[in-house]
């Protein structure tokens, strides 16, 4: 086990931050303070934080629409996220991306609106890393539903063909929008598809942060060593509905209960308490601190300036006078 107690605590804090960010988003929506819908990753925090944990700053991340887990994991701050979510001029995308977070200083090139369009982009960033002789790795984080998108296939093919430093991190949360995975898949797992390209793979528990972190660490190391792509599939469960307007009538409540019993944050807390890395009191304090950070970020977000009509026509072309 490569995960130190200090690291575990750091990851735990990040998971708390993710949960708090999304709960706060939900609350703001309910209170009618914002219109921005959310696709929350409740229950999947150990995947999002586990896949980003082992990344270096120079590594590249492509994330998903589901919540903020991997963005927090790669280093985005609640403040930057809320500035962007609220469409403010000081947001990393100057309020133009909103849900589509991008942050160049953290090597997050952006979030596509068309599921799977970034599969090949991740191959492209990895190709550039290889051509430029860096030891940068690209992590492509993706849902199982999106793995059916056509481009998954030539993307994996190119990654294997050119032996590129890219990790495909598949979050199998049992749902693809408003239906179960079985409406989309003839098989139980996504991962064995990698074998068709000669890409090695692993299928792991997505609830235990130590497991997700270490599996990713192995995959990233493989890619960084120049051994080519690796695919990891993390099994988890989407505790939230697809998006904030979805009542989720199609969800089987018993199954949901079973997974709830293995909530990744609870599991991690238990481990930390048992190993005496943290006390119950310190945990309370940490949670309050995290919530305060999020609340502060929301406040700062609301207080920040909106873009104006001049901004509307900025940022399209680098060249002058084209628009």
């Amino acid at each position: 086990m490569s995960l130190s107690n200090a690291k575990l605590l750091e990851l735990y804090r990040k998971m708390l931050l993710v949960r708090s960010m999304e709960e706060t988003h939900g609350k703001l929506l309910q209170e009618g303070k914002i219109q921005l819908m959310g696709h929350f990753g409740t229950g999947q925090e150990a995947v999002a934080i586990g896949v980003t944990g082992p990344l270096r700053p120079e590594d590249i991340l492509f994330g998903t629409h589901r919540g903020v887990g991997e963005f927090i994991g790669k280093g985005m701050t609640p403040k930057d996220i809320w500035l962007e979510y609220l469409g403010k001029k000081a947001g990393p995308c100057r309020g133009k991306g909103t849900l589509h977070l991008a942050d160049r200083k953290l090597n997050i090139p952006g979030l596509v609106s068309s599921l799977g369009a970034d599969f090949s982009m991740a191959v492209g960033t990895a190709l550039a890393s290889k051509m430029r002789r860096t030891d940068q790795v690209t992590l492509y984080y993706v849902g199982e539903g999106t793995c059916n998108q056509a481009d998954a296939h030539p993307s994996m093919c190119m990654a294997a063909l050119w032996k590129l430093p890219v990790v495909f991190a598949v979050c199998t949360n049992q749902f693809c929008e408003l239906s179960y995975m079985c409406d989309h898949y003839p098989t139980d797992d996504v991962a064995p598809r990698a074998a068709g390209y000669g890409i090695p793979y692993e299928v792991v528990d997505g609830q235990d942060i130590a497991v997700t972190y270490e599996a990713t660490e192995r995959a990233v190391a493989h890619a960084r060593r120049g051994q080519g792509p690796f695919l990891v599939e993390y099994k988890t469960f989407r505790m939230a509905t697809h998006f904030t307007g979805d009542p989720g009538h199609y969800v089987n409540p018993e199954e949901r209960e079973q997974w709830a019993a293995r909530d990744p944050i609870d599991l991690c807390r238990k481990k930390l308490l048992e190993a005496a890395v943290i006390t119950a009191d310190a945990d309370q304090k940490l949670r309050a601190e995290v919530q305060a950070e999020v609340d502060g970020a929301v406040r700062e977000g609301f207080a920040a300036a909106d873009p104006t009509v001049e901004d509307l026509f900025e940022d399209l072309y680098s060249g002058k006078g084209v628009l």
Partner: protein
């Protein structure tokens, strides 16, 4: 006998009725059983999972699958949830779907209906908000329609499902979510392709407004009426074939033409109609043709910017005033 239905109900009813009429009609698309916006909600209970078929998330391939089914005796209704995603299926739609009947010398007509949602203003940002009707007008062999009332939504969709030619139906999100209501007959009816409707009469300027923009035009008309400017509002309903007669009979009367669309300006629906105007109908024009459309930029996420991006009542009023 007519009842009041909302836009979504009208669509739902059209599909249900056609599926009862013709066992070769079926629905496929991403999550059509639960139905992301609701147009196909509940149909699975009556028609079963085989005829209301959830597909994997793969727009080009499900379009191809629908085309294949249409080649082999079925009449599929394919949903491409957000019109933005139809860009994934452009090879199938523009290169093959519209061209198949022709290049097989008439052997293989493709009776396929594609339904897809357009429209911004819902804070969904780039890639979930575009009105991309104009991306389809270059493609030969397609019929393109865009209803703005429950009556037309049902009638045009029925025409589409019964047509042996491929039809793309654009449904505006504001009409779906906004629950716009209208009278819809109990009896079976269809709305033919290529017939525009004059939504409001007027003699000062002709405003051709597509889909949801017709409502903005009606609002603009109210404001302009205060200055005694009476615009005539035409809802083309079909984009292809286009009812040139209705449009240019109006222009003959008014001498002024304003085209309003939610999509982007360059090469948009307005460009084609303006080009017709200054071509065959040049002698009718008494003033420059005005195009009201979105600017040539992506749809920004910021609510402030999104509102600035969208054409609306005010931009229509301004355009009319420039020529009246």
């Amino acid at each position: 006998m007519a009842r009041t239905l909302n836009f979504m109900q009208a669509i739902n009813e059209a599909i249900a009725e056609e599926m009862r009429r013709d066992p070769s009609v079926f629905v496929l698309g991403e999550d059509v059983r639960v139905s992301p916006f609701g147009q196909t909600a509940g149909l699975v209970e009556e028609f079963g999972e085989e005829r209301i078929l959830n597909t994997p998330i793969a727009e080009n391939a499900i379009t191809g699958a629908a085309m294949g089914a249409a080649m082999n005796g079925m009449r599929p209704i394919l949903e491409l949830m957000f019109c933005d995603f139809s860009m994934l299926a452009m090879d199938q739609i523009c290169n093959h779907l519209g061209q198949w009947r022709y290049i097989t010398g008439g052997q293989y007509p493709l009776p396929l209906t594609i339904r897809t949602a357009v429209g911004a203003g819902m804070r969904m940002a780039y890639g979930h908000s575009q009105s991309l009707e104009s991306q389809f007008i270059q493609a030969p062999g397609l019929i393109l329609v865009e209803p703005s009332t429950p009556y037309d939504a049902k009638g045009l969709l029925k025409s589409a499902i019964r047509s042996d030619d491929p039809v793309v139906v654009f449904e505006h999100k504001k009409l779906i979510f906004g629950g716009v209501e209208g009278e819809v007959p109990e009896e079976d009816y269809t709305v033919p392709f290529g017939q525009a409707v004059v939504r409001k009469q007027g003699q000062d300027a002709t405003v051709v407004a597509f889909g949801f923009m017709g409502y903005e035009a009606l609002n603009a008309a109210q404001e302009l009426a205060q200055d005694n400017i009476a615009i005539e509002i035409i809802d083309p309903r079909s984009i292809v074939p286009l009812d040139k007669d209705t449009i240019f009979e109006s222009v003959e009367k008014t001498g002024r033409l304003i085209i309003v669309e939610e999509g982007r300006l360059r090469g948009g629906l307005g460009a084609e109609i303006a080009a017709l105007a200054c071509g065959d109908y040049f002698s009718l024009l008494k003033a420059p043709v005005q195009r009201v459309a979105a600017p040539m930029i992506p749809i920004p996420g910021s609510p402030v910017l999104e509102d600035l991006y969208l054409p609306n009542k005010d931009s229509i009023v301004r355009a009319v005033r420039r020529v009246c």
